[in-house]
């Protein structure tokens, strides 16, 4: 049964381990009640299992990329422009703060990609059980941490 639950938000309440951002912030129960009913949801008092952390991090990194892609475009624009603008891009990459920001954008890209692969596997019911989602989330965080570290080494 668990294998069929990947996109059934109501059934997901049965498996708190494979919740998504939407379920954590707006459980189906709450969403369907009358709009004027007082609602108190404290994010600080929730339990945040690994799957929930990976899910919200996937969303946060997605928004980071929406903004950060401008920087990658700018660098590519400089790099492809001329010898002079290429040198400008290289010089920019040598400064500590821009380098740190670029590492942040690349890190967001790496996590979003790795967690995205996990989401695609979930479509095929790989890692959709409670235990499976814990393992898959832990793995996606560990793999991206290693890759982000390697990206840092490559940049510096």
């Amino acid at each position: 049964m668990a294998g069929r639950l990947a996109f059934d938000y109501h059934a997901l309440r049965v498996f708190p381990g494979c919740c998504t951002c939407r379920d954590v912030l707006f459980p189906a129960m709450v969403r369907e009640m009358k709009a004027d009913r007082p609602v108190y949801l404290s994010l600080l008092q929730f339990e945040w299992p690994m799957a929930a952390l990976a899910s919200i991090a996937h969303r946060v990194t997605g928004v980071m990329l929406f903004v950060g892609i401008a920087l990658l475009f700018y660098l590519l624009d400089l790099g492809l422009g001329s010898e002079e603008s290429f040198a400008e891009a290289v010089a920019l990459l040598d400064e500590p703060l821009p380098k740190l920001i670029i590492w942040g954008v690349l890190g967001a890209l790496i996590f979003h990609l790795v967690a995205g692969v996990k989401h695609l596997l979930l479509d095929f019911h790989v890692g959709s059980s409670l235990e499976g989602s814990r393992i898959a989330s832990g793995l996606s965080v560990a793999i991206s941490a290693v890759l982000i570290g390697m990206a840092g080494v490559w940049l510096w």
Partner: protein, 122 residues
């Protein structure tokens, strides 16, 4: 089922499949470009230009650019409709959300134009 014009949604099924197909295109493109940078440690302007200026690469870049716009639109739409709602933003939430969504559209439009200029201007 879309029941309201301000929801800016077309079809959840369509969004679902577009999000996944575009994700695969972007992932493959990212791995190709990352691989190119990894095998060329001392990058030069000439090498970079050579890599991006072939016709197949320009087409691949354009495909990845359009996929990124579609992917980002669906993602930002989801974020907006999840958080910019009456419960948090009060009675005018729909107005705020529409401004947010127009803002997202504008930014993505700029990215697409900028990307096309970069990829086809070389």
């Amino acid at each position: 089922m879309v029941t309201n014009i301000t929801s800016f949604g077309r079809s959840g099924l369509s969004d679902f499949i577009v999000q996944r197909v575009s994700a695969i295109v972007i992932a493959v493109y990212t791995l190709c470009v990352a691989g190119f940078f990894l095998v060329n440690p001392g990058m030069t302007h000439e090498a970079l230009l050579g890599y991006f200026s072939s016709l197949p690469m320009k087409m691949f870049s354009t495909l990845a650019l359009l996929s990124t716009a579609a992917h980002a639109w669906i993602g930002m739409w989801t974020v907006g409709t999840d958080y910019i709602r009456g419960h948090y933003f009060g009675a005018h939430a729909t107005v705020y959300r529409m401004f947010y969504q127009f803002g997202c559209m504008f930014v993505l439009f700029v990215y697409v134009l900028w990307g096309l200029l970069i990829f086809w201007g070389i």
